[in-house]
Symmetry: C2
Subunit: 281 residues, 2 copies
C-alpha cells in the first residue's frame, strides 16, 4: 500500500473531494494530487477519469474551476487531478512560465538540470496510477483528458498506452508541439536537440502513425488566444488522413480559459463515462 | 447611463461572463463587479440573481468557484457578483481578515475611519442595481442570495426591501450577527456601540419582526467549521415562531467551502428562477 497523506477532504455533490500528498519515487520529491470520489464509490469501485492540467497549473486549478465534480457525481466516475510538475527548493526551475516547475510537459527529461525530477510521463502513467488504484475505490476502467499542455499529455499518453486507457479526449490541446513554440522549447530543454526523440510526444504524429482503438473527442474554442501555438489543424488533418473515428469540435466564441473548460466538462465526463462503464460491464 | 469599463469577457455556457469596473459615488472609489449573462439575454431582458460573497472574497471567488453559470444558462437568469467592500490605498483597512477591506458586512458605516467609503448596503441596494439595470439586458425581477457574510447581506437586504426583491435564499448565512463574534465586532466598528442600531442588520431579528412575503430557502452544512459563529438555530427558531414559510436545510457532511456552495448552487438558481420568472410573466 502506497503511503499517502490526506491534506483536505470536502463533501461535494454527495461525494468527496480529496487533496493528497505522497512521496514520489519517480519524481524524487513529495507530490500533491487531488481526487474526486463520486457517491457511487461508497458502494464499490468506479471508473476513473484522469484530468491533466496546463502550463502554470497545480492540482488545484481544475479542481476548483473546472466544474467536473457535478458531472462525475451524476455519472459515477472518479476524477484525478495530478500536479503538472515536481516542485520545491531542490527542484530545477526557470524564470519563464512555460519551462520547469508548472510546465513538466508530461515527458521524462533526459537532460540536465531537469533529468533528476522531471519525469511526469512515468509519474502519471505508472506511479500515480498505482497510488490511486491502491488507495481509492476505483476499478480498471481509466479514461484520460486534459487542457492545453494537459490535453497534449492526455492524447500522447493514451495513444502510447492503449492498454491502460479506455477513452481519451482533450480541451484545446497543444496538438503539434514539435512544430510549435509551445513544444520545441520544452522538448529541446527536457530531451535535447535531437528531434528524433520528440515524435513520441506529439499527438498529431502519433495519431497518424498508430491511430487509436476508439473514437476521440477534442473541443477547441474558436476565439482561443493561443490557436497559433495549439495547432488543432494538425490534429484534425492527422485524424482525417488516418480515417480515425472522432471529432474536433470548434466551439464558436470560446477562449482558452476555464470558462471554456467548464462549459464542456459535462460533455466530456458523460462521453468518458459511457465508454468506461461499457468496457467494465 | 452609468459609466462602466469592461475588464474581461469570457464565453461561458453560450452566455458571457463579464467583469466590470465603475466609479462608485456611494463608496467614493472605483468598484469591480462581475455579471453573468445567460444566452437567453440575447433575445431580451432576463431576471437577475444577486450573489453576495463572504469574508475576504472579491467579485471573483464565487464567479470562478461557485458553479452558478451552468444553472443560470439553463434557467435563463443573469447573476451579479459584487465585491464585498471598497478597496484601495485611500480606503481604511484593518489587519484582521474580518474587518475593513473584504469585510464590508453590507452596512453603511457611520463611524470613523470606515464612514467615508464603507457603504455596501446602499451600494448593493441602490447604486449597483442602477448600474446593472442601465447597462445589461435585465428586467425588474431580482432575487438575492449569498454565502456566509453574504448570506447575512442577502437576507437582511431582502427583508428590508421586499419591494425590490422577489426571492431570497442563503448559503450558510451569518444568521444572528448581533449575538455572534462574526457581527458584534463589525457592527460595533462600523455603527458604534449603541446596539439599537444593529437590529436592522440581523436577519433573525428582522424575520421574526417583519416576516417575508414569500418563502425562504437556506442551506447549511452539518459539518460547517463555523457553525458556532453562523447561528442558523436563531434563524430557524425565528422562522418557526413567525410561522414563516420556508426551509432551513441541514445538509449532512458539508462544510463551509465552495464545494458546499457549488453542490447546492443548482437548487438555489432553479428556486429563484421559478419565482422570478413567475413574477415577471
Amino acid at each position: 500500500m502506497s503511503e499517502i497523506e490526506v491534506i483536505s477532504e470536502n463533501r461535494c455533490f454527495d461525494g468527496v473531494q480529496k487533496v493528497c500528498k505522497h512521496p514520489s519515487n519517480t519524481c524524487g520529491v513529495d507530490m500533491t494530487f487531488a481526487v474526486y470520489l463520486p457517491p457511487q464509490a461508497e458502494a464499490g469501485p468506479v471508473p476513473v477519469l484522469w484530468y491533466l492540467s496546463g502550463l502554470t497549473c497545480t492540482h488545484e486549478n481544475a479542481m476548483t474551476k473546472g466544474g467536473f465534480q457535478e458531472h462525475a457525481a451524476e455519472h459515477g466516475i472518479a476524477v484525478v487531478f495530478p500536479d503538472t510538475s515536481p516542485r520545491g527548493e531542490g527542484v530545477a526551475d526557470d524564470d519563464a512560465y512555460d519551462l520547469g516547475q508548472g510546465a513538466g510537459f508530461y515527458v521524462n527529461a533526459t537532460r540536465e538540470p531537469w533529468r533528476p525530477h522531471f519525469r511526469m510521463y512515468d509519474y502519471v502513467v505508472s506511479e500515480l496510477r498505482s497510488v490511486v488504484c491502491d488507495n481509492f475505490p476505483v476499478n480498471g476502467a481509466h479514461g484520460i483528458t486534459g487542457h492545453s499542455m494537459g490535453g497534449h499529455g492526455a492524447l500522447t499518453i493514451a495513444l502510447r498506452n492503449p492498454d491502460l486507457y479506455g477513452s481519451v479526449s482533450a480541451f484545446a490541446p497543444i496538438a503539434n508541439p514539435t512544430r510549435s513554440d509551445w513544444g520545441r522549447k520544452q522538448l529541446s530543454a527536457y530531451l535535447g536537440d535531437d528531434e528524433s526523440a520528440w515524435g513520441v510526444h506529439d499527438s498529431s504524429i502519433l495519431l497518424e502513425e498508430n491511430g487509436w482503438k476508439g473514437d476521440i473527442l477534442v473541443d477547441q474554442g474558436s476565439k482561443d488566444q493561443f490557436l497559433d501555438l495549439l495547432k488543432p489543424e494538425a490534429l484534425a488533418a492527422a485524424m482525417t488522413r488516418r480515417r480515425q473515428p472522432g471529432q474536433v469540435r470548434i466551439q464558436a466564441g470560446y477562449d482558452h480559459s476555464y470558462y471554456f473548460v467548464q462549459t464542456f466538462a459535462g460533455d466530456h465526463v458523460a462521453w468518458h463515462a459511457e465508454r468506461l462503464h461499457a468496457t467494465h460491464n
